[in-house]
């Protein structure tokens, strides 16, 4: 045998899993929602998404090449693509494209790369960029085109109120009849409402969730705990006072589905243990309801997740997995 023997310690086999497989798997899970956004908003959606993904890739590539002088090409691992897609999903389809570029610069340049790149960021880049853009460009970020616009409209799309705005008004004014203007649950499920590009079609997002669960990309703990917590709390609130919207509408409205399925489950910023993930999910649910009901903003999901991102290291420290041997029992 001419070759030299290879020596290393065990294990000598690998499952075949890779970072690319997981990241591009998430991209595939995002496809249904992506296609829905193209269907609902046509040209605007396509432009915003393309610019977002391209800017994220460009920022990551240039920071690596020019500032870090890193010889490795990191943009192929798929994480910048996901950030680009998720950032686009958080934006209305008529947002000026230069703002998208700024958002991408913030998301990748500030939130991800300054902390050390993949695996080191404390906050979810897409979500932090959304919060940044919300504060920097409040008007453009809160004027959403209605769905069903012709394919060629972009900047001149027709805008309208979203379900969350209606829900907020109902609580502020105490007038439960405002809730009658809400779209039906079915409409909200399939996305026939106004809102950010990726968040309206709950059905598409749930399909993505199913795909990720089957491929073992994420586990059920975070999405289920967030949605269940919000459902239970708003259910109690609705039962006590009908000015609060029904829990079914609540979980289908705004960015809850998108946040629970794709944002909160981001590997880097969520806890590593099942116990920790449940704690994280429940806390996000509670915070979301509080911000949505009592806060100034109609949408509480992004802030709730960002706040809990900051708690993730602490959750990792205190929520340890159950060690083997910790509980001695016999169920023979």
């Amino acid at each position: 045998m001419a070759n030299q023997l290879i020596v290393s310690l065990s294990p000598h086999v690998h499952s075949g899993d890779s970072v690319q497989r997981n990241m591009y798997g998430v991209c595939i899970a995002l496809l249904p929602a992506l296609l829905c956004s193209f269907w609902f908003w046509g040209l605007g959606a396509i432009l915003v998404t393309t610019v977002s993904v391209a800017s994220c890739l460009f920022v990551e590539w240039s920071v690596n090449k020019f500032m870090l002088k890193n010889p490795r090409l990191t943009i192929t691992d798929g994480s910048a693509v996901i950030t680009g897609l998720l950032l686009a999903f958080n934006l209305p389809s008529n947002i000026p494209l230069w703002m998208v570029g700024i958002g991408a610069l913030f998301a990748i340049g500030v939130v991800k790369m300054t902390f050390g790149g993949l695996g080191c960021n404390l906050f979810n880049p897409a979500l932090a960029a959304r919060a940044f853009m919300l504060i920097s460009f409040p008007v453009e970020m809160t004027t959403w085109p209605t769905t069903g616009q012709p394919f060629t409209t972009y900047a001149d799309a027709q805008t309208g109120a979203t379900p969350l705005a209606l829900i907020k008004d109902a609580v502020k004014t105490g007038d439960a009849s405002l809730l009658d203007d809400l779209p039906s649950a079915f409409d909200m499920l399939v996305g026939a409402t106004g809102g950010c590009m990726g968040e309206v079609c709950a059905l598409a997002l749930l399909l993505g969730l199913g795909y990720m669960l089957i491929r073992h990309i994420i586990t059920w703990h975070i999405p289920v705990s967030i949605i269940a917590t919000v459902f239970v709390i708003t259910g109690i609130m609705h039962w006590m006072n009908p000015v609060f919207v029904s829990p079914v509408i609540e979980i289908l409205s705004g960015g809850l589905m998108l946040g629970a399925i794709f944002m909160a489950t981001d590997y880097v910023t969520s806890p590593m243990t099942p116990k920790g993930q449940l704690v994280y999910g429940i806390a996000i649910g509670v915070l979301t309801v509080i911000i949505r009901t009592f806060g100034a903003y109609p949408e509480g999901m992004s802030f709730a997740i960002l706040i809990m991102n900051a708690f993730t290291p602490m959750i990792n420290m205190y929520c340890k997995p159950q060690r083997y041997g910790a509980v001695e029992g016999s169920d023979k």
């Binding site: 045998m1 001419a2 070759n3 023997l5 290879i6 020596v7 290393s8 310690l9 065990s10 294990p11 000598h12 086999v13 690998h14 499952s15 899993d17 890779s18 970072v19 497989r21 997981n22 691992d77 994480s79 790149g117 993949l118 695996g119 080191c120 586990t219 590997y267 880097v268 910023t269 969520s270 806890p271 590593m272 243990t273 099942p274 340890k320 997995p321 159950q322 060690r323 083997y324 041997g325 910790a326 509980v327 001695e328 029992g329 016999s330 169920d331 023979k332």
Partner: protein, 445 residues
């Protein structure tokens, strides 16, 4: 179906040699016996250059209580006491014997007649353990812990069960599988001997569900013995780990080290050890041969070979078609916990369960990336540890953090590194951390 509750992974089984009956491996020209073939003090040679030995003759005595004697597996003349490179990759002292003929010690009963425990009511537990000790029997699952020590647990431990580990969860290995199919009754008698030695009435034989023929055969034959129950287990790695096995079979979990399985009432022995116990007690045959699975995707003829201890591995590889051209790694053991060998002359030892030939492309590790904090290693760890934290802590030499996070509980099964999408060498670092922390803890006392 029963299985352990925490963690686990599913490597590809690749049991290429499962239907290959055991056949005898050829005798070597020179047999090499490393003196440190077991856990505990290395054996001390009792022969010197020029001595003539027979098969089964002791050539090294135990170096202490936690140690085992070594018996010659060949007849011939002692060539020298020198060093040989063993599975550790370093040269270790060994006895070299020039093989001449195949003359066995007269005391060994070579007949195939089954001898059951009931035929020897005079055998006490002490007798059985003494015979096991003198026969140099160590755990054949791979760890090579001296069996007589395991069967004499510290006082204060109430032993309720004996569990025979016939799980063979490592991919590729089929030695235990074939042993069960071809030496069913000897294994069962060996089990009764072990049960007698520790004084229990209930024994389990745990077999993974990917061996339905063995489960069927063992269950059928076990009916003729009292107190032995065959337990099929779900296929999941590392089902064959002692701690996971106890969890699966009797639902008890062993507390953190230094606690032993005996402290929750179970004694575990590999099925090959049970067979060796039968041979030693009933046939006066010391441990000098074992079944070795020689396998690999590009190997011409993957087989299960009954091999004399001391045979250099290249002889076995040649017996199975020769070393393939595209060989990259030669692993002593299975792919999850085996050792990559530095050459093919490494001798077969008591713990050599298999030889796995891996191609160059399969053997190279992928380039590691940064930790993406996916938590898959935490989900995979069968001991409920956090491998990402332990590996990072070991790399940064944060020994306090490692001790606090129970690094000494790690069983080095490799599930974490197997799963990691970023291909990080988690176990490499955890091992260093574990050995350092164990050293620190020991130096305190």
């Amino acid at each position: 179906m029963k299985t352990f509750k925490i963690g686990g992974v599913h490597p590809q089984e690749n049991k290429l040699s499962a239907s290959e009956p055991i056949r005898q491996a050829p005798l070597p020209q020179v047999a090499v016996f490393p003196l440190g073939q077991h856990i505990g003090a290395p054996a001390k040679p009792i022969v010197s250059k020029g001595d003539v030995v027979k098969v089964g003759q002791p050539i090294a005595e135990a170096g202490g209580y936690v140690s085992a004697p070594i018996h010659s597996s060949v007849s011939g003349t002692v060539l020298k006491i020198d060093t040989v490179i063993d599975a550790s990759g370093y040269a270790k002292p060994a006895v070299f014997i020039q093989v001449e003929g195949d003359e066995w010690e007269e005391s060994i009963d070579r007949s195939k007649q089954l001898v059951r425990l009931e035929e020897h009511p005079e055998l006490t537990d002490k007798d059985i353990i003494a015979k096991i000790q003198n026969a140099g029997i160590v755990g054949l699952g791979g760890a090579c812990f001296p069996t007589h020590v395991k069967l004499s647990p510290p006082p204060g431990n109430k032993i309720e069960w004996v569990i025979i580990n016939a799980v063979e969860c490592e991919p590729y290995l089929t030695a235990d599988h074939r042993l069960m199919l071809e030496h069913t009754d000897e294994i069962l008698v060996g089990t009764t001997l072990i049960m007698k030695a520790v004084g229990v009435t209930q024994g389990f034989i745990a077999i993974e569900n990917n061996k339905p023929d063995a489960i069927r055969l063992m269950t059928e034959h076990a009916r003729a013995y009292t107190g032995i129950e065959v337990v099929p287990l779900k296929v999941k790695y590392p089902q064959g780990g002692e701690k996971q096995l106890i969890d699966a079979v009797v639902g008890r979990q062993v507390p953190a080290p230094p606690a032993l399985p005996a402290s929750v009432g179970a004694i575990i022995q590999n099925v090959g050890t049970a067979y060796a116990v039968y041979q030693a007690v009933m046939k006066n045959k010391p441990l000098f041969e074992r079944v070795v699975t020689v396998t690999g995707k590009s190997l011409a003829h993957p087989s299960n070979l009954m091999t004399r201890i001391g045979t250099p591995m290249n002889l076995l590889i040649d017996e199975c078609g020769g070393l393939p051209e595209d060989t990259g790694k030669i692993i002593g053991g299975g792919p999850m916990m085996g050792k990559a060998l530095v050459n093919t002359e490494v001798p077969v030892c008591k713990g050599s369960s298999g030889i796995l030939i891996m191609t160059g492309t399969d053997a190279r590790r992928a380039k590691p990336g940064p930790c993406i904090r996916c938590g898959k290693c935490v989900t995979a760890c069968p001991m409920g540890l956090e491998p990402y934290l332990l590996a990072d802590g070991a790399a940064r030499e944060m020994w306090d953090l490692l001790e606090h996070n129970d690094i000494t509980s790690c069983i080095e099964c490799g599930s974490c590194q197997f799963t990691c999408p970023a291909h990080r060498p988690l176990l490499d670092y955890v091992r260093i951390g574990k050995s350092t922390v164990t050293g620190i803890i020991k130096s305190r006392s």
